[in-house]
């Protein structure tokens, strides 16, 4: 065995070089949680500034940087990585796979995201963060002085590449690595939504890549796509951004839908109502997600025909979303609903998201959108969708899968206090913002003038934000105080799907024997139609595993270094960084690595000598 498993490697080295989808998943979760806290802090600072009219807690420029970084961080560096963490850990387990299709690329995806995220945040210490909003509309962004936008462009480019790689990895994993019997129409909904979200990533991110490339060339090399004086057009950026940006919303929310489907089904002890309709609705939402982007641009002057088409197409999304809501309700109907913390989050999601959904339809009404657009009504809407959908989904998934991932259960009492506090704070913060928008408060304002009727509701909103902040601290506390609640059964919730068939903690090869899947909810089927244990689809044998690699880290580091070269026009540094990148890629390409095998005896021992 030329690539023997090195027993003596240090813990740090192990994490830096791991290609194990479970460890990569945990890395995503940890990094995502860090950025989530950071983005949350930025939000709190903004809410303090907006607590009172003409408050001078922060300078306007700093406020603009905060609002830009809050949006960018939450979308790219918190919500997506946290979902990626869950997907990485759970999806292979749900489909009965030992690994993902591309373990090396999987690790590369993570490190690219992390270095991109770090790069973006370095801007705080390098003369100012980006200040043109997370949408970075040109020409405000292309002409913004300083280097903030350069950090935005390169940071997102790098982390975006990581996301794209991750998306392709999930797609191939789900198509090629399913256990025998796990047909597409037997896949758990979380896996299905991961699949559709990955398709969206695959087709949406290239538009962002090009948008960022153009912005970079415009800022650093003097290109003129957006320079009106040279015949450029500023709407091009908006199209490219939203062709990416709208599907991005579904990239976030569809996996959350998947999480809720799993949890609601598990805790009402019922099979998901209308499984195939749920799958179909997910696909339709994914498709429509690509056909409606211009509803973010109703006021840029595309004309009434274009506005009408995009308005009607947008409204159509309400139909499959409605199907999902009713299917969840009917899953609960006739069930035996257990109010665990995970399920509380799922149940809290339904009304919250419905409220975000209906304001979405209101916004789709193009003629009325002229009033809503770019006001706090929009801010309220997308926070209802993203917090009410995605963040609640992430917390639900965290409580649900925590014992699977970390081997212990989070404290339920603390969890429930956290839930109620967070939900209360969330509605307190954002419900009033609908009205703030309608009575004349534009979004992205660094402050507001007194005496215009905006004072009280802004104060209420800020108080709500404090509730959310304190609640999150409670969650962090929960993580630490619960560590002693070891979970050893491997199936703490009376689960239905394959991830609950394996012992806790999860062995590095996941399944000693690949399971044979006989129905949707494979484990539940065996519990009530079989003997409660999965049938094996293969005899016990040696298990092939990939070797770890430091190259993903090196490649990402190379890009990180090169970015500084681009930002500060230090071409030698840029070239040096790219040499590192291509050098590492070259090494990867010429050095064949066939992994190693875990011998059958070790697996038998781990199974308890059976």
């Amino acid at each position: 065995m030329s690539h023997a498993k090195a027993q003596s490697k240090s813990v740090l080295w192990d994490w830096l070089t791991t290609v194990d989808h479970k460890k990569v998943g945990i890395l995503y979760l940890a990094a995502g949680a860090f950025f989530f806290a950071l983005g949350g802090l930025e939000a709190i600072l903004m809410r303090i500034q907006l607590m009172f009219p003409e408050f001078t807690f922060l300078p306007a420029q700093t406020f603009n940087e905060l609002l830009t970084m809050h949006g960018t961080t939450m979308i790219f560096l918190a919500a997506m990585p946290l979902l990626f963490g869950l997907m990485n850990y759970i999806v292979p387990l749900q489909i009965g796979a030992r690994d993902v299709a591309f373990p090396f690329l999987n690790a590369l995806g993570f490190w690219l995201f992390l270095f991109g995220g770090i790069l973006l945040n370095v801007s705080w210490f390098a003369g100012g963060a980006p200040d043109a909003g997370w949408t970075a509309y040109v020409p405000l962004s292309s002409e913004s002085p300083g280097t903030g936008i350069d950090y935005y462009v390169l940071g997102l480019q790098i982390s975006g590449a990581g996301t794209l790689i991750g998306g392709i990895n999930f797609l191939v994993t789900i198509i090629n690595m399913r256990a025998p019997g796990m047909s597409m129409m037997r896949m758990p909904l979380f896996t299905w939504s991961t699949f559709v979200a990955s398709m969206l990533i695959l087709f949406a991110f290239p538009a962002l890549t090009i948008g960022l490339l153009l912005l970079m060339l415009e800022r650093i090399f003097g290109a003129t796509y957006f320079a009106v004086d040279f015949g450029g057009n500023v709407i091009i950026w908006q199209h490219l951004f939203w062709i990416f940006g709208h599907p991005e919303v579904y990239i976030l929310v569809l996996p959350a839908f998947g999480i809720f489907s799993e949890i609601i089904s598990t805790f009402s002890k019922k099979r998901l109502f209308g499984y195939s309709a749920m799958v179909f609705a997910t696909l339709i939402i994914g498709f429509l997600g690509f056909m409606v982007w211009a509803h973010h641009m109703f006021t840029v002057g595309m004309g009434p025909v274009a506005n009408s088409i995009f308005a009607v197409a947008t409204m159509a999304i309400a139909v499959p979303t409605g199907i999902k809501i009713f299917n969840w309700l009917l899953t609960l109907w006739g069930g035996r609903i257990q109010f665990t913390t995970a399920n509380l989050f799922a149940l809290g999601f339904i009304p919250s998201f419905v409220m975000g959904g209906v304001t979405g339809v209101m916004l789709a009404t193009s003629a009325a959108n002229y009033q809503f657009h770019d006001t706090y009504f929009v801010v309220a809407h997308f926070h209802y969708v993203i917090i009410g959908g995605v963040v609640l989904g992430l917390f639900a998934g965290a409580f649900y899968w925590w014992p699977r991932i970390f081997g212990y259960k989070l404290n339920e009492t603390l969890g429930k206090i956290f839930f109620w506090m967070f939900l209360f704070g969330f509605h307190l913060t954002f419900f009033v913002q609908h009205f703030l928008g309608l009575i004349g408060m534009p979004r992205r304002v660094a402050s507001f003038l007194g005496g215009q009727g905006l004072d009280e509701m802004n104060l209420i909103s800020t108080i709500g934000a404090f509730f959310m902040g304190v609640a999150f601290i409670l969650f962090v506390v929960n993580i630490f105080v619960s560590m002693k609640n070891k979970e050893t059964t491997g199936d703490p919730w009376d689960g239905r799907t394959l991830e609950w068939t394996i012992p806790s903690p999860t062995p590095e090869y996941n399944f000693a024997q690949t399971p044979l899947v006989r129905d949707v909810d494979a484990l539940w089927y065996e519990k009530y139609e079989g003997d409660g244990k999965m049938k094996a689809a293969e005899p016990l044998g040696d298990i092939h595993m990939p070797n770890g690699s430091f190259l993903p880290f090196i490649i990402s580091l190379g890009l990180f270094i090169a970015s500084f070269g681009f930002i500060y026009h230090l071409w030698a540094l840029a070239i040096a960084g790219m040499v590192v990148v291509f050098g590492a890629m070259f090494v990867r390409s010429v050095k064949e690595d066939h992994g190693y095998h875990i011998p059958k005896e070790d697996i038998l021992n781990a199974k308890g000598g059976k």
Binding site: A60, Q61, N64, P139, L140, E143, N233, V234, S268, K270, R271, F273, G274, Y275, A277, T299, G301, P304, N307, S308, A311, V312, A316, A318, V319, I323, I325, N327, L329, L330, W333, G334, R336, F339, P351, V354, V358, V361, S366, A367, A368, N369, Y370, Q371, H373, T375, F431, F435, L438, I439, G440, P442, R443, R444, V445, F448, L449, G451, G453, Y528
Partner: protein, 335 residues
């Protein structure tokens, strides 16, 4: 979820009370465009409240009826689905959306109809960081910050920008359209009632985005005609006051301000100041007080960071007083 139920009636209350300032709120429309939009908002809101009520009712019923009771260990029936139900909850939303989509499409076209009519007037609005310029091509005048319009007249608005993207929003009169550099967007408004309607820029445009306010001032047609005619009077043809302070102020103005700020309705690099004496705020947002005017002249960047005006720290207190007096005397309607 109980508190949600308590918040829901609140929404009606807020809506009915028409909260917010009358001349700022989109919920208290003062003209046909905003009224059209408000009626659409109401229609969509009713439909959405219907949806919310239905969903919440089922939701609450399910949670109460099917909650796990202590000691209950039964295994629920594993239902696969129900074709009829699924068709129903696909069809009803489609129907509801059609109710909303049809008037929406019609109104989208109505709002986009910006053909000038016989008695309509046209205003070309150029947004600058961080102020507004209003050009009246039919009258050959340019005004800054305050957009005077005649009541009961269709006003066609062409929107442009001189730097980044801004957005023109007067909630009480009409929804917004963007001022896009390089493009021209158009919209129309109409104000049946005399009044001052607050407008705001709604597209992030830099550090002072939040201070980029303006006013639409609707006046009777004859007043508007007077205003327009007086705006167009060249500075040298205007009656000049003999007061010593005003003469000094005028001299200072011509030396230091005139390059950028026209006082004969001609615009310029900075806002036109022909009717500065009739403003109600300084720099779009500050109280109309001498101290504020002087502060602005001394150091405009501290009040509105990123704007295009240089600081004039060298004026003496007396000079500033004279200049302020002179600025306050610039009027076209009164007297």
């Amino acid at each position: 979820m109980k508190y949600l139920w308590r918040l829901l009636p609140l929404s009606f209350f807020l809506l009915l009370a028409g909260c917010g300032q009358q001349n700022l709120s989109a919920l208290d429309p003062q003209g046909p465009v905003a009224e059209m939009q408000f009626s659409l908002i109401r229609l969509s809101l009713y439909i959405m409240i219907f949806v919310i009520v239905v969903v919440f009712a089922i939701y609450v019923f399910v949670l109460i009826r099917f909650r796990e009771r202590p000691g209950d260990t039964h295994i629920p029936k594993q239902v696969h689905g129900n074709k009829v139900l699924e068709v129903v909850w696909t069809a009803i939303p489609i129907f509801l959306l059609l109710i909303l989509a049809v008037p929406n499409v019609m109104e989208t076209f109505t709002l986009a109809d910006t053909e000038p009519t016989e008695d309509s007037i046209t205003v070309n609005v150029t947004a600058h960081a961080f102020w507004w310029e209003f050009e009246y091509p039919d009258y050959d005048i340019v005004a800054g910050q305050d957009m005077y319009i005649p009541t009961n007249t269709r006003v066609i608005i062409n929107l442009e920008s001189s730097d980044v993207i801004h957005s023109f929003w007067v909630p009480a009169l009409a929804g917004k359209q963007d001022n896009v550099p390089g493009n021209v967007n158009d919209m129309w408004i109409e104000a049946p009632k005399e009044g001052v309607y607050l407008g705001k820029c709604t597209e992030l445009c830099g550090p002072s985005h939040w201070l980029m306010d303006f006013k639409v001032i609707a006046v009777e047609t004859d007043v508007f005609e007077t205003w327009a005619a007086n705006m167009a009077v060249p500075a040298e043809e205007k009656e000049q006051s003999e007061s010593e302070v005003l003469v000094e102020g005028r001299t200072l103005y011509e030396q230091s301000c005139l390059q950028c700020h026209s006082i004969s309705g001609q615009g310029g690099f900075g806002p036109d100041l022909t009717n500065f004496g009739e403003r109600t705020v300084v720099a779009g947002y500050l109280k109309y007080e001498d101290e504020n005017i002087k502060d602005w002249i001394r150091d405009p960047q501290s009040l509105k960071p990123g704007n295009g005006m240089p600081a004039f720290p060298d004026f003496t207190e007396d000079e500033l007083d004279a200049l302020t007096e002179y600025l306050k005397s610039l009027k076209v309607l009164e007297e």
